[in-house]
Each structure stands twice: as structure tokens, then as C-alpha cells.
Subunit: 312 residues, 2 copies
């Protein structure tokens, strides 16, 4: 049995994966703040999960942990997980050594890409290459090529959030204008929308439905940003399909339909774009998908020399 | 001995490559118009090249032919080579069967990517992944990853010319606004510049140097388009370095320095972009580089089951 964790800014999703790749147990808990609480949350969940499936923690073959931060490939050290209050954390020492189980960490978007491919990579036409585009507070993508996680040089393949797609577009907090993330990142939209709301992007969508002109402009920009990311990912990244996930996708078809409209508009303008059939190559992860935790478990199952190979 | 041909719109570049990968003979000739003339040009050059190196044409191990058109991977049939007046041409039948030598065809930009990697892929830091960005009449890139040509799903990896990087930018002949090719394609610039000149892009650069405001705007757009292509290729394509080639690069440092300025401007604005050191990862193919013909020879040396593996 292998364990996988997706440690997010608000909740931690934990799964037990059987040798055949199927998820046999799953628990979700709120995530605390800071390295100590993050570690205790994971240790508590290991105990609960192993209890649920009736094995000792020493029987766990491997643990994979996805987090929003930077991870050197093959390591268990996470750095700059700012949303979790974690500057640097060696999960190999804090979890692996304590339990006597091998641990690997992975950037959460890359882990989700591995999991999304395992769950959806056999869909017709995926042809072994797929991108997972995470629409969260920030924007980033992970690539799976020939069934393996593909990091690219310096690990930056998929960092599409800071590609500018409009030199006169909104100022990004990175300092450039018109970044994809400035158009469609949940954080950027919340800041530009500026109204008090528990779910600012949902609030903005509701206001747009009611005809608010500022909301309509923001909503149009969101669709343009996501569609631009898809165009960049397919035309430069060369993947067959793009699966969307992350907090903003909770809007479901209300969001996706606008993105499809934008892709269809470029297809209507350009025979070349039409030939690519981009709108047909995009899908949403189902709500509550365990992709990120599953992907983390699959990453954990690999040795330091391998990239995650997906069971599919 | 293996032969490689880069059949361009104006000239054909032909090389003989020894088993160790070095070029032992090279001939350049004007290219004619239409399939018959294209075939006779290649056949004449085969005779001249084999004569030069003192072998019989039956001793040629393989022939690879790069052309500006579409080629199904592993085949010798080229389609839609509009600049050559070729709608469809089976080079296996027209050249291979006649000479009794195996022939493979390849899109010219993809062939140039293979050749550029063989010539420059061992430069420090290339880390096995490199893109060749062709700045010609149109704009397209070819990727080499882990030392092999990488086509991506549906062969469209590197088709960066029709990614829009400005929703209010110039109308592209593809029908969209603000395509990278509309900013920096030689054809698009010649059309928008509109003045009679043998070398319209050079004419525009000279006018910009003299302070012409229209030329300055076009020149700024060219730099923005090329820099945007580089950002897209590295951040989404995930390559370590980008080598520029094609007709527009005949302007050399006059062009490259403006592209570097644009990359440096985004680095100055954004710590994230600065961390990527993009300006240091870009270089020009030397003038008269045989990259495309060499790459065609390397493609020709592969079987239909393999992608070109570079000697490097």
C-alpha cells in the first residue's frame, strides 16, 4: 500500500493506493499553518489511513507528498511553500525517518498532473501527452509526456502563468503586464474585483450575470487568460489534451463555457486554429477529484532515479 | 556517407555527412519551381556531391530532405510545400527508387532543429533540450528533447507563430489578431511596411535607424514578437536554450540586440522572469550555417521507427 497527500492551503487530501493503482481509502482534513502543524497533520492522517485499511504504518511501502512549493526532483525537501507558512521542510526527516518509510515530495501541480493522467490519460486521443492546468490563486501547468512527468529544463516547463499575452494588459504582481495569471489567477481577480466576498471569483461571476460592467470585463479577461494558456500549452508544449483543475474550476461549466467560446472565436477567425480542434481537447477534472493526492502517491512510489510512471 | 538537402524557397543546400557526423562536402544551388525541377535539382546535386567525394551514388547510405511543407513522420512524402510550387511529392518514389537509396523527408524547421542541436547542443547548459526558432517568412520552432526531435501531439509542438500575444495587435493572415507571426514574420512585416525593397525587413530597420516612426513601431513589434516566442518556448516548451535562424536573422546583432532588450525589460520588471535568465539562453545560428541540411542528413539516417538521434 502507498500513501499520497495533497497538502493544500486550506485542506489536506490523503489517499491509500493499492498495488493496482486504485484508491482504497481517502480522508480530507483542514490543513494547519506552519511546518510543525503540517507535519503533525500528515502523521495523524497516516495513522488514520493505516487504521482504516488495517495495516501497520511500517507496512506502508512509500509516501508521496504534494505541496504548493518548490521541490528538487527526487527529493523530499520542500521550499517556499508560502501558503502553508513553510519556508523549508525536510519531509524525509520529519515523516520518512520517523515512520521508517521512504518519502518523496513533489510540487502540488506536478503531482496533480501525474494523478490526472492516471485517471484520465487513457481517454480517447490523449496519445500519451497531457497537461494539467491548475487554475488556483496562481496559474501553472504540469506536463505528462509519454506517460511520465516532464519537468523541462530547470523544472520550469508549464510555468505559463507569467507569459504575457497582452502588453497593455493588467499589471501582474510579478511586475509584468498582461500575464496569463494577471488575467485568470484567482488571487489577481480577487484583488482587482476588490469587493468583500467569501468566494470573490464566484461573486464576480454572479455580478457579471447581473450585468455589472466591471465584472463582465474581469470575466472576459478570465476566459481570455485560460484560453491563452491552453493555446500556449498545446502549440508550444505540444500536448494532446489539457485537463483543468484548481479552485476556479469549482465554477464548472459557467467558467468552461466561456473558455470554449474564446477558443471557438480563434477557431472561427483562423483556419489553422480551427484545424487544431482545441475546444475538443479541453476538459475539467470532476469536482472533488483525488488527482493530486493520487499523483503524490504515484510520485512517492518511484525511486529517486525515475520520474513517476503512471499506472493508467 | 549520408546526404542531406535543405530545399528552400530560393536555394537548395546539400551536404555529405561522414559516419562520424562531420560535413565532408557542401554545395548550394538556386531552387527551381515545381515538383519536376525540385526533383531534378536534387538528382543533379546527388551526382555532383558523390562525384566530389569520390563515391558512386549507390554507395550513399541514405538521403534526408528538408522542405518547407508537411511530412508525415517517418515518410518521404511532402505536402503543401507552397513556396516551392509543390502540392504533394513522393520523394521516396522520385529520388529513393531511382537511386536505390532510402529517403526520408522532414519539415525544414524540424530538420534545422536536429542540425542546430548537432552543431550547438553540446554548448554549456543545453542539458539535452533545445529549440530552434525559425524567423523566416513565417515563424515556427522545432524542439529537440533528450537529444531527439520532439514533435508533440499531432506534430504541432513548436507552432508558436499563431499564438496571439496581443488581442489588439496586428491582424494576422491566419485571421487572428496579434499572432507572434503577425509581429515578427518576414512576410507580415514586408506587407505592413509596404515599400518596394529587395529586403523589406532590412529596409525597415534602416528606416527605423533614420527615425521613421512607422519603421520604429514595426521594429519594436518584431522584437516583441521574437521575445514573446522565446518566452513561450522556454516557459511552456521547457527547453534550456533557443537558437534563432532563418532569413530575418541575417540582420544579426541589429535584430538580436533588440530582442535581448525586450527580454531584459521583462526581467527588470519581474523577479520571476529575472530568475530564468532568458537573455543568456538565446543565440543566433552563424550566417551560412549548414544546420538544416545537416539535420536532414541525420533524419535520413534514421529508420522509420526512430526519431533522429543526434551525433552531437
Amino acid at each position: 500500500m502507498r500513501l499520497g497527500f495533497d497538502v493544500g492551503g486550506t485542506k489536506t487530501d490523503a489517499v491509500v493506493v493499492a498495488p493496482g493503482g486504485e484508491i482504497v481509502a481517502r480522508i480530507r482534513r483542514p490543513t494547519g499553518w506552519g511546518p510543525g502543524v503540517v507535519v503533525s497533520t500528515i502523521l495523524d492522517l497516516v495513522a488514520e489511513l493505516t487504521d482504516t485499511v488495517g495495516i501497520a504504518s511500517s507496512d506502508v511501502e512509500s509516501i508521496g507528498i504534494g505541496m504548493p512549493g518548490q521541490v528538487a526532483p527526487g527529493s523530499a525537501v520542500i521550499t517556499h511553500a508560502v501558503n502553508l507558512g513553510v519556508d523549508e521542510l525536510d519531509l524525509g526527516a520529519a515523516i520518512g525517518a520517523v515512520l521508517g518509510v521512504p518519502v518523496r515530495a513533489e510540487n502540488d501541480v506536478k503531482a496533480a498532473a501525474v494523478g490526472a493522467y492516471a485517471l484520465h490519460g487513457n481517454d480517447p486521443g490523449s496519445a500519451g501527452t497531457m497537461a494539467y492546468l491548475n487554475l488556483g490563486t496562481g496559474i501553472a501547468a504540469g506536463f505528462v509526456k509519454d506517460g511520465k512527468l516532464w519537468r523541462g529544463a530547470r523544472g520550469t516547463a508549464g510555468e505559463v502563468g507569467h507569459i504575457s499575452v497582452d502588453p497593455h494588459g493588467p499589471l501582474c504582481k510579478c511586475g509584468q503586464h498582461g500575464c496569463i495569471e494577471a488575467f485568470c489567477g484567482g488571487g489577481a481577480i480577487a484583488e482587482r474585483w476588490g469587493r468583500e466576498a467569501l468566494l470573490p471569483v464566484l461573486d464576480m461571476f454572479d455580478a457579471a450575470d447581473a450585468g455589472d460592467s466591471e465584472a463582465l470585463a474581469l470575466r472576459g479577461g478570465l476566459a481570455y487568460g485560460v484560453a491563452s494558456a491552453i493555446r500556449v500549452i498545446i502549440l508550444s508544449g505540444g500536448v494532446e489534451s489539457v485537463v483543468l483543475g484548481g479552485g476556479v474550476t469549482a465554477l464548472g461549466d459557467r467558467m468552461l463555457s466561456l473558455v470554449i467560446d474564446d477558443l471557438n472565436a480563434s477557431a472561427a477567425a483562423s483556419p489553422f486554429m480551427r484545424s487544431l480542434q482545441l475546444a475538443e481537447r479541453v476538459s475539467l477534472l470532476p469536482p472533488g477529484s483525488p488527482a493530486a493526492a493520487l499523483g503524490a502517491a504515484l510520485v512517492g512510489a518511484t525511486t529517486t532515479e525515475q520520474e513517476a510512471v503512471v499506472h493508467g
